[in-house]
Symmetry: C2
Subunit: 119 residues, 2 copies
DNA sequence: TCCTTAGATTGACATTGGTCAATGTATTGA
DNA sequence: TCAATACATTGACCAATGTCAATCTAAGGA
């Protein structure tokens, strides 16, 4: 325990960003909490597929009907997953007429990826 | 829905790697499953702190006693989290005498980070 | 051989989380 | 105004998960 590696495992989630640098020491408990929350939002097959489907669309935007077509899940279940992703800051919703269009929040995935890669 | 973005959201988890490129289409369901499994293993505050503590140690190696010192969790709970991380391929265990030393699997975190960043 | 120590395993418990049926809410069109 | 469409919300249910107390296993030391 004499030498300590540089360790920028800092939380950069969009919701509750905390920009303090955690280099040279272990991650702080509250940072671990918020990073875990972000990862939990991603750690579901249906939600990963949703993100992927949205990203694969033109303009990175998709309506719920696009998702019900491709996922074998009920419409309420898909709405639930969408809410989780919006609350976590990975998607945004834009309502136009009767349709709700979901799109990726730029940089939100990269933030999480950056924290993981930095360990 | 005419233009489809390049989308290399492929699974590169260590356990069940599948190297097919998923560019230009949404992620396949089974790839979403295994990526979700990897993310689930990371999506816990205690496990993130464990990874961070191991990474912060000299030689990126720590014994269980180092973890019980810093985490306010029982020893069985910490052993449980360590098992989850080993099973997911993020840590390896080396037993020397009475002590168990855990270390990071090189590249395992970067694999997950790379998949996320590629979306 | 016996005791102590480090750590893993088991079993039980409460909480969280994913899912769907049923229902609610806007918006559009007739 | 009424019916249909697109989506959200509620409530309930079951499965998965995090936690700890108790116990087990193995390695040293006296």
């Amino acid at each position: 325990m004499t030498f300590t590696r540089t360790l920028p495992l800092t939380d950069i989630s969009q919701a509750d960003a905390c920009s303090s640098s955690l280099a040279r020491s272990a991650i702080a408990p509250d940072h671990a909490d918020s990073l875990a929350r972000s990862l939990k939002a991603l750690a579901d097959p249906a939600r990963l597929r949703i993100i992927s489907i949205v990203a694969a669309h033109a303009d990175a935007e998709a309506c719920v009907c696009d998702l019900t077509d491709q996922l074998t899940l009920s419409q309420p279940t898909i709405s639930h997953h969408l809410k989780v992703l919006v609350d976590a800051g990975f998607l945004t919703r834009a309502k136009r007429g009767t349709w709700s269009y979901y799109s990726l929040v730029p940089g939100s995935l990269d933030s999480v990826a950056g924290v993981l890669a930095a360990v």
